[in-house]
Amino acid sequence: MNKVPPDQDPADDVDAQYRRASALDPSRPGEAVRRAVLAHAAQLAAERASAVAGRLKSRRTAHPTWWRPAIFGTLAAAGLAALVIAPQLLTPRAPPVAGSAAIAPAADNLASAPATPPPAVSAEITARPPAPVHSANLPSYSARARSKTNEPTAAPAVEATPLAQTAGARAADTGAAVAGVSAARQRMAGNPTAATSVSAAPRADTNPAAAFRHAAEVGDLAALATLVETQADIDARDSAGRTALMIATLHGEADAVAALLAYGADPNAADANGTTPLQAATAGDHPAIAAALRRHGAR
């Protein structure tokens, strides 16, 4: 009855006895064996280490690394150039004034009667033959500048010759810039009149495309809704090749962007520099606009 049943795990004491006896067992492998094993292992380790070093050396020889500094230098130069150039490309600029014989008098007339309602302007424009591209891009700031600075002679001077037209455009552009800065300063100083004149300016614009872009620029959704009816080409471009959508994007007018996209504006219409609205939104840190553009298929 002292026997361990077969199912029972027999005796941890056997293992314990074995270990006790093993501990007392003085037999050991020969010292020569140990020396031979360790010497052999050390030799193999040295061979492996030298083989690894040889592989690394041959890899370096096969693939010289002289090109690395050249690549890094080129990349650094390209990055620097991009930092210098990109702000100039992406910053919204006042487009040059385009001299237009047909529009300038109208603008001058409007300057004397700034309260002309938009429908009247629309009717006047639609009755007019299509204007050349540069005159179609008459910026609202220029018209506003002329109206504020009361320089009606600038536009007639444009009519004379192409050369004079260019000179006139430059003069008008300078005047517009001055007026724009002046208006901005007044706005910053809290002058409500200046602010009012800026918001009223689009309505005074006789060019529907320019008015449309201005409405996009300032996020005037009501004006956009009105002008989209009369604006034949929603993707008409200014002299820099910017559409109303691009201008709204550059100015961070998310609502205007959404409205323009809803009206069917081309989300991929790039400007003259090849910058797309999505790129402009990304560069300008307008994630909501970028997301809206992507939803409408912008790349």
Binding site: V4, V14, A21, S27, V37, H40, L44
Partner: protein, 190 residues
């Protein structure tokens, strides 16, 4: 990490990358376990020494091919067992009770001549070691192999079954009968 705390697998990996010191740590950690497994299976010190050298040469050579899918000890004892079978020493040298007893006695004779060991202690050592050697020799080959694998390699039943290419149940049965037999034999010498 210190060498003492570094796993066997990590040490072998370091050796495979050319670190000889890692191999020495590994060797000293498992030296006696492999030695006892070999020596108690073949029953001859010279043969065990020879096999010991072959096993560790194989470990050094194949370290770069080792993939840690199994424990290092499983791999090590598999090599040891295969070396033992390849050399056909087990089948040629049927371990005889006399041979083991003779070796044990000769070792113990050396031990008892040492001044640090008193006569009574020497007698105890002689009795226990001799009893163990005799008991192991009386085990069937498969049972002894399975038992030594498990106790020296600290392996699970599954690992012993894998190394001996036997089923789990067969291995479990061999281990149980080996322990029963050892218990019975050792009690006689107690």
């Amino acid at each position: 990490m210190t060498d003492a705390g570094e796993s066997d697998e990590a040490l072998l990996g370091r050796y495979a990358r050319g670190n000889a010191a890692a191999f020495e740590v590994l060797y000293r950690r498992h030296e006696m376990r492999i030695w006892r497994y070999l020596e108690r299976n073949v029953g001859n010190r010279a043969t065990a020494d020879e096999l010991m050298q072959e096993v560790w040469f194989a470990v050094a050579r194949d370290a770069v091919r080792y993939e840690p899918t199994a424990r290092f000890t499983t791999w090590l004892f598999t090599i040891a067992r295969n070396r033992m079978i390849d050399s056909n020493r087990i089948s040629r040298r049927q371990v005889s009770l006399e041979a083991i007893g003779y070796e044990a006695e000769s070792v113990l004779a050396q031990l008892t001549t040492e001044p640090s060991v008193g006569p009574l202690a020497a007698a105890v050592v002689r009795d226990q070691a001799s009893a163990l050697a005799r008991a192991l020799c009386q085990l069937p080959l498969e049972q002894r192999d399975a038992f030594l694998l498990q106790i020296e390699g600290d392996l699970s039943i599954e690992e012993v079954a894998t190394i001996t290419r036997s089923s789990f149940e067969t291995t479990k049965s061999r281990l149980r009968y080996a322990r029963l037999k050892l218990r019975e034999l050792l009690s006689e010498y107690a």
